[in-house]
């Protein structure tokens, strides 16, 4: 029916009383997400919007409410600890929206979550949305529609652009996932592709990559070797100069590695439909399903 999040997702919000946290929690609640708890140290005992209990620690929140997913809106300097805390409390899915987390912190966070079998999405990601069912993060609910196209992307607004075009063309989505633009992230393309391949309600996948690193190449090989469902891909940054960080910490061409050209070549070689423009997704997917 979807990947990562569904109607059984019981969401906890870390940083629920902050500016971003409170805004997006309202949005998620309006969308129908089952927000069961919030965490802000020192505000334990209060409630958010009169209904969501707030706790001092994630352990207390998980213990009292049975939360099984957490979304993190705390400032960058506290984000790594927020992930550690959620993983320590046994939360199975952690979505870190926060941008600007030091990569040194992530080198310690990633083995920690891996040891516990916890799925981390992000950091610096827009989260995930299963249209009509559950929204975790900041993806705008009004542009998505239920359907059977899986969407996975390293970007935020570029994802909105593509999803918007898919929706207008009548191509609804099973789940849309933003994996984040940082060099070190918890869930990568392959994790999402594997999940979409196993998801009964996904028939094709739209993948938006960008310059930097080799995740798209690895994803292409995974598609070639392990996927039966069609995948259409796009790479942002073919006009980006080498050695410069294009906004996302991970979007940087190092030497000759990570260019859009080599990534699109890998797509082609591995049987992924290559979208030259975001607008190409609709036609390329329609041809394949």
């Amino acid at each position: 029916m979807s990947i990562l999040i569904d109607s059984s997702t019981r969401l906890l919000v870390q940083g629920i009383t902050g500016r971003d946290g409170s805004f997006h929690t309202r949005q998620m609640m309006e969308y129908g997400t089952d927000v069961v708890a919030g965490v802000t140290p020192g505000k334990g005992g209060q409630t958010f919007e009169g209904s969501v209990p707030i706790f001092d620690t994630v352990a207390q929140a998980a213990d009292r409410t049975g939360a099984n997913a957490s979304v993190i809106y705390v400032p960058a300097r506290f984000a790594a600890d927020a992930i550690f805390e959620a993983a320590d409390a046994g939360i199975a899915l952690i979505v870190c929206i926060t941008e600007g987390v030091p990569v040194g912190d992530m080198t310690r966070v990633l083995p920690f979550v891996a040891e516990r079998g916890v799925r981390l999405l992000g950091p610096n990601c827009p989260g995930a949305i299963t249209p009509g069912v559950c929204k975790v993060g900041i993806l705008p609910g009004q542009i998505v529609a239920p359907g059977n196209i899986g969407v996975v992307s390293r970007s935020g607004t570029l994802t909105y652009e593509v999803v918007y075009q898919l929706t207008r063309a009548g191509l609804g989505q099973s789940t849309c996932v933003g994996i984040g633009g940082d060099p070190l992230i918890g869930t990568d393309f392959v994790d999402c592709l594997r999940a979409f391949e196993a998801d009964d309600d996904t028939v094709a996948v739209a993948l938006m990559g960008e310059i930097g690193g080799t995740d798209e190449q690895v994803a292409a090989e995974f598609v070639r070797d392990h996927m039966t469902k069609p995948v259409v891909g796009y790479i942002a940054g073919r006009t980006a100069p080498p050695g410069r960080r294009m906004g996302h910490a991970g979007a940087i061409i190092s030497g000759s590695e990570g260019t859009a050209g080599e990534k699109m070549k890998a797509f082609e070689e591995c049987g992924i439909g290559v979208a030259e423009r975001p607008a190409d997704f609709v036609e390329l997917i329609q041809e394949r399903i």
Binding site: I138, T159, Y160, A236, A279
Partner: protein, 383 residues
């Protein structure tokens, strides 16, 4: 963030790595004075955020203080890869018996810091990686345990058979890892690490890149930022909380989100145009950011047309619209502006823009086509 060689060396010194003395000169006279203080041969090295300084003539050996002054006079003001040299490092010359490479870099694939060492030092390691990959020994550090003593010793033995040299190199490698972690670096490199004529292992050139996201922990490293070396437009963007990179095209782009910004640039190219910049106004809806963005774009004399591509999510389209109206009141913009807004508060935004004499569209391909055409002079301005 890049820091200069002399700054990287200062960090390495603080972690106990043996580095020859050295000081910065901003004039030939200062260089002469330093060379006199050190006595003997010195090296005068351009301090600039670019590789290939040696090939560009930015590193010179000076036999005496007068030669150091001449070398500095020659190097100061030199342009290396588009950057003007405003300071040189003066350091005593060292007899070199052998040169090695020691570097540590954040590796995305293993999600760990990875050491690379090679007995072939003093040359471009990326070239060695291509021409003679077996000459490089790699080791991924497990950040949960740090670099263990036997691991730094193992890397040292890859460079030297001699136990005394290996022990010295092992201490440098361990200290380099400590410096890398403490500084929040994504790259730390000693190239070359040398053995001098007395059998001492020394770091005689150093490079470090610092993770911008880690700088909040280290004000003393943030203070090393060379704002003089920074492009003024990029500096202004950084201070306004924008992400901006100048290119050499003529279509000024103003977009929210890094991925969409790159996709917009790519689409400009796709439709036969040439993007003047990467510019991400980020997720916030602050009109001041739009004003700053327009100031930066219009300051680039290559720009012939300005193109907005906004997909409202967190960013509210009406805020951006207000920013555009506000900016055109504050600064005099002679260039044509074409605007695409979709998403949150799209309708209000279009009303605001129309009330102020702008036209706006909702399709990305359409706006890019129009922006390219405007820059090419094939259409009138939008304002």
């Amino acid at each position: 963030m890049n820091i200069h060689e002399y700054q990287a060396k200062e960090i390495l010194r603080q972690h106990g790595i043996p580095v020859p003395p050295g000081e910065i000169a901003r004039t030939p006279e200062e260089a002469e004075r330093l060379a006199r203080e050190y006595g003997g041969m010195t090296v005068v090295k351009a301090q600039v955020h670019a590789g290939g300084r040696g090939k560009a003539g930015g590193v010179k050996l000076a036999a005496d203080p007068a030669a150091a002054r001449d070398a500095a006079a020659n190097i100061l003001g030199m342009e290396i890869k588009g950057l003007t040299v405003d300071r040189v490092l003066v350091t005593p010359a060292v007899e070199i018996r052998s040169e090695a490479y020691v570097g540590i870099v954040l590796d995305r694939a293993s999600q760990r810091p990875v050491f690379m060492v090679s007995a072939e030092g003093g040359v471009d390691i990326e070239e060695v990686a291509v021409t003679n990959p077996d000459a490089i020994t790699r080791f991924a550090v497990d950040p949960r345990y740090g670099l263990l003593p036997h691991q730094s010793m193992g890397l040292a033995f890859a460079l030297y058979d001699d136990i005394e040299l290996a022990r010295q190199a092992s201490r440098i490698i361990s200290a380099l890892y400590d410096a890398y972690v403490a500084a929040g670096a994504t790259l730390a490199e000693v190239n070359p690490m040398i053995v001098d004529d007395t059998g001492v292992v020394l770091a005689i050139d150093a490079k470090m890149n610092i993770d911008d996201n880690a700088l909040f922990r280290m004000p003393e490293i943030e203070a090393m930022r060379d704002t003089e070396a920074e492009d003024p437009a990029e500096k202004k963007a950084r201070e306004a909380g924008l992400s901006y990179i100048q290119l050499d095209g003529d279509v000024g782009c103003c977009v929210n989100g890094a991925g969409l910004a790159m996709a917009t640039m790519d689409l400009v190219k796709y439709y036969g145009g040439s993007p003047a910049n990467f510019l991400d106004i980020g997720g916030s809806s602050n009109p001041d950011k739009v004003v700053a963005a327009l100031e930066i774009i219009t300051a680039d004399s290559n720009v012939k047309a300005i193109l907005f591509n906004i997909f409202g999510g967190i960013t509210r389209c009406d805020d951006v619209a207000n920013g555009i109206v506000e900016a055109t009141k504050r600064i005099d913009i002679a260039l044509p502006i074409t605007i695409r807004l979709t998403g949150t508060n799209e309708r209000e935004a279009i009303e605001i823009l129309q009330a102020n004499g702008f036209t706006a569209m909702t399709d990305m391909d359409e706006v890019v086509k129009r922006g390219v055409a405007l820059a090419a002079g094939a259409a009138g301005g939008g304002a």
